[in-house]
C-alpha cells in the first residue's frame, strides 16, 4: 500500500426516494398509511432535515432508508443502488440511548467496527480519532453510566461515524436532551459534518434545530405522511448557534411553523380526540382548538 492519507476519504452518496409508501396493518383497527408517495433527492454531501408533527411517519421513512423497515411500495436508493436491507455504508443514530453499558466508551466505538471485521489496530486508531472528534477523548476508559445523556449520544454518533458511512441517518438523536445541550451538540455535529462531508438525513420535531443545521428542510404532513414543503435554508456556513434568533432564522422558522402547526392540530384532533377505530363522538365538537 502506498502512503495512506490521514483519513481515507469516503465519497458522500445521494439518497433518492422514488414514490415511497408505507402502510401498517394494526390488527383490529384500520390500516394506517404512515408514508405516502414520498419522492425526492437528498444530494450527496447535503444536510437535509425532515420535520413534522409526531406520528407523521418521519421515523418510519428513516427506517426504510436504513433498511430496517421495508416500503410497501416505491423504493429508496443510496448512491444509485436500491436499499434492500441494512448496509454498512449507511449509518444510523437512534433517539434512544444505544450505548452498551458493559463496554467502555472506547469499546463502544469499536463495536460496530468489530462486527464489520475491521482489523484491531485500525479499530483502535479510528475509535480514538472519533472520540476526539466528538470531544470524548478524555473519557475513553469510562463506562457509559459515568457519562451524561448528551455524552452517550455523542458516543453513539462516534460509533456510527467510525464505520465511515457515506450517509448518516439520525432519528431525533438529541430528542431526549435539554434545549441548550441539543443546540450545542447540533453545532458540534455541524463541525463534524463540514469535516467529513457526508450526506446527513436528520429527523427532528424541533424547527429550531432543523433551521440551525440544515441545507434544506422537508416538512412532512400528518398521516398519510407526505412531503408538503421543502425549504432551502440559505444561511452561510460555518453556522453556530448564535444564528438562532436572527431575523432570517426567524423567517425560516415562522414559515416552517405555520405549516407544521396546521398538521400538528390535524394530528392532534385525530389521535387525541378520535382514538383510532372509535366513531366520532359529539363531545368532540365542543373542544376548541
Amino acid at each position: 500500500m502506498t502512503q495512506a492519507p490521514a483519513r481515507s476519504t469516503v465519497v458522500a452518496n445521494e439518497v433518492v426516494f422514488d414514490r415511497v409508501s408505507k402502510a401498517f396493518d394494526i390488527p383490529g383497527r384500520r390500516t394506517v398509511q404512515a408514508v405516502e408517495e414520498v419522492t425526492g433527492t437528498v444530494p450527496a454531501g447535503e444536510f437535509v432535515s425532515i420535520v413534522g408533527p409526531s406520528g407523521c411517519g418521519k421515523s418510519t421513512l428513516l427506517g426504510i432508508v436504513a433498511g430496517l423497515d421495508s416500503a410497501t411500495s416505491g423504493r429508496v436508493s443510496v448512491g444509485g443502488s436500491p436499499v434492500t436491507g441494512p448496509r454498512r455504508d449507511v449509518g444510523l443514530v437512534f433517539q434512544e440511548d444505544s450505548t452498551l453499558p458493559w463496554r467502555s466508551a472506547l469499546r463502544n466505538v469499536t463495536f460496530g467496527m468489530e462486527v464489520a471485521g475491521v482489523p484491531r489496530a485500525e479499530r483502535q486508531r479510528r475509535a480514538n480519532e472519533m472520540l476526539t472528534m466528538v470531544g470524548l477523548a478524555d473519557f475513553a476508559g469510562e463506562r457509559p453510566a459515568r457519562l451524561s445523556g448528551g455524552m452517550r449520544q455523542r458516543l453513539a454518533i462516534a460509533r456510527t461515524l467510525a464505520m465511515r458511512p457515506s450517509v448518516l441517518l439520525m432519528d431525533e438523536p438529541f430528542g431526549a436532551l435539554d434545549q441548550q445541550t441539543r443546540l450545542i451538540l447540533g453545532a458540534q455535529l455541524l463541525r463534524i459534518w463540514s469535516q467529513l462531508r457526508l450526506t446527513v438525513l436528520f429527523v427532528t420535531h424541533s424547527i429550531e434545530e432543523a433551521v440551525l443545521l440544515s441545507t434544506e428542510v422537508w416538512v412532512m404532513s400528518y398521516r398519510p405522511g407526505q412531503i408538503i414543503d421543502r425549504v432551502r435554508i440559505d444561511l452561510p456556513y460555518p453556522r453556530d448557534f448564535d444564528v438562532v434568533g436572527t431575523d432570517r432564522f426567524n423567517q425560516y422558522s415562522n414559515r416552517l411553523w405555520s405549516t407544521i402547526r396546521r398538521e400538528s392540530l390535524r394530528g392532534f384532533s385525530d389521535t387525541e380526540l378520535h382514538p383510532a377505530g372509535v366513531d366520532k363522538h359529539p363531545v368532540v365538537a365542543e373542544v376548541e382548538l
Binding site: 444510523l92 437512534f94 434512544e96 444505544s98 452498551l100 458493559w102 462486527v115 464489520a116 453510566a145 459515568r146
Partner: protein, 257 residues
C-alpha cells in the same frame, strides 16, 4: 475506586453488622440465664458453642456437611443451567412461551416436595431424589428471570444489532446476553437462596442424611444444644452462599459503573 470516602461507610456497615450479631448473642445469653425461656427450648450460647466445638471433631458432622453441600451445589448448578437455557429458549420461541407460562408460574407456588413419592419410585431412596427436586426448585426462578431479562431488552438494541448486521452468534453473545445479564443474575441469587432452603428443608422432612436431617434427628432426641449447633451451621452455610451470589452480582454491576 477505594478512597477514605468509600472505606468509611463500608467499615461502618461491617461494624454495624458485627454489632448486631453481638446484640443477638447478648439477648440470647440474657434470655437463657434469666429463664425467659427454658433450656429445653434454647440452651445458652455458651452451651451451643461448646456443642458445636465437639461436633466439629465428629465424622458424622463432616459427612452431613459434605452431603448437604454436594446436594446444594449440584442442584444449584443444574437448576441454573436448566433455568438459563429454558428461559433463553422460551424467549426465542414466544409461542411455546405463551403456552407454558401459566404452568411455569404455578410451579412457583407448588411445594415440589409433594412430588417426592414419584421421585422415590423413579430414582429410589437416595440423595438424587432430593437433588432432582431441588434442581426444579432452583430452575424456576432462574428461568423466569432469564426470560423476563431477555424480553425486557430495550428494542433499540435489536435495531442496533440489525443495523450493524450482527450475525446471530455475536448478537446473542455480545448484545442480548450482556443486556439481560443483570436480570439473570438476580434470578441466580434467588435460585441460590432456594437451593439452600430446598435441600435443608427436604433433608429435615425426608432424607436419612445431611445437616437438615441432623436437626430433626437431634430434635427428636431432645439434644437441644447439638440441634442448635446444627441450626447455626445451616445459617452459616446460607450466609456463605448468599454472599457468593451477591459478590457475583456486584462484580457485574461494578463492571458497568
Amino acid at each position: 475506586m477505594t478512597g477514605p470516602a468509600n472505606t468509611r461507610p463500608f467499615l461502618l456497615g461491617v461494624t454495624g453488622t458485627t454489632g448486631m450479631l453481638l446484640l443477638i448473642l447478648i439477648v440470647w445469653q440474657l434470655g437463657s440465664t434469666l429463664e425467659w425461656w427454658g433450656p429445653g427450648l434454647m440452651p445458652t450460647p455458651g452451651a451451643v458453642a461448646a456443642a458445636l466445638g465437639d461436633l466439629l471433631t465428629t465424622a458424622v458432622f463432616w459427612s452431613s456437611m459434605a452431603d448437604t453441600l454436594v446436594a446444594i451445589v449440584i442442584s444449584f448448578a443444574a437448576g441454573s443451567l436448566v433455568g438459563v437455557a429454558g428461559g433463553t429458549l422460551l424467549w426465542r420461541l414466544p409461542l411455546i412461551g405463551r403456552v407454558l407460562e401459566p404452568y411455569i408460574v404455578s410451579f412457583y407456588a407448588v411445594p415440589l416436595i409433594v412430588l417426592y413419592p414419584v421421585m422415590l419410585v423413579v430414582v429410589g431412596i437416595n440423595v438424587w431424589s432430593l437433588i432432582i427436586l431441588n434442581t426444579v426448585v432452583v430452575a424456576i426462578p432462574v428461568l423466569l428471570n432469564t426470560w423476563v431479562g431477555f424480553q425486557a431488552i430495550p428494542p433499540v438494541y435489536h435495531r442496533l444489532a440489525r443495523s450493524l448486521r450482527c450475525g446471530p452468534a455475536r448478537r446473542f453473545r455480545q448484545v442480548m446476553l450482556p443486556a439481560a445479564l443483570p436480570q439473570i443474575l438476580a434470578g441466580l441469587r434467588i435460585g441460590a437462596s432456594l437451593a439452600v432452603v430446598g435441600i435443608t428443608s427436604m433433608e429435615f422432612l425426608l432424607a436419612p442424611a445431611g445437616l437438615g436431617f441432623q436437626v430433626r434427628y437431634l430434635y427428636e432426641y431432645f439434644e437441644q444444644a447439638q440441634m442448635w449447633a446444627y441450626v447455626v451451621v445451616i445459617f452459616a452455610v446460607a450466609c456463605v452462599f448468599m454472599a457468593a451470589a451477591s459478590a457475583m452480582e456486584n462484580a457485574v454491576q461494578k463492571g458497568r459503573r
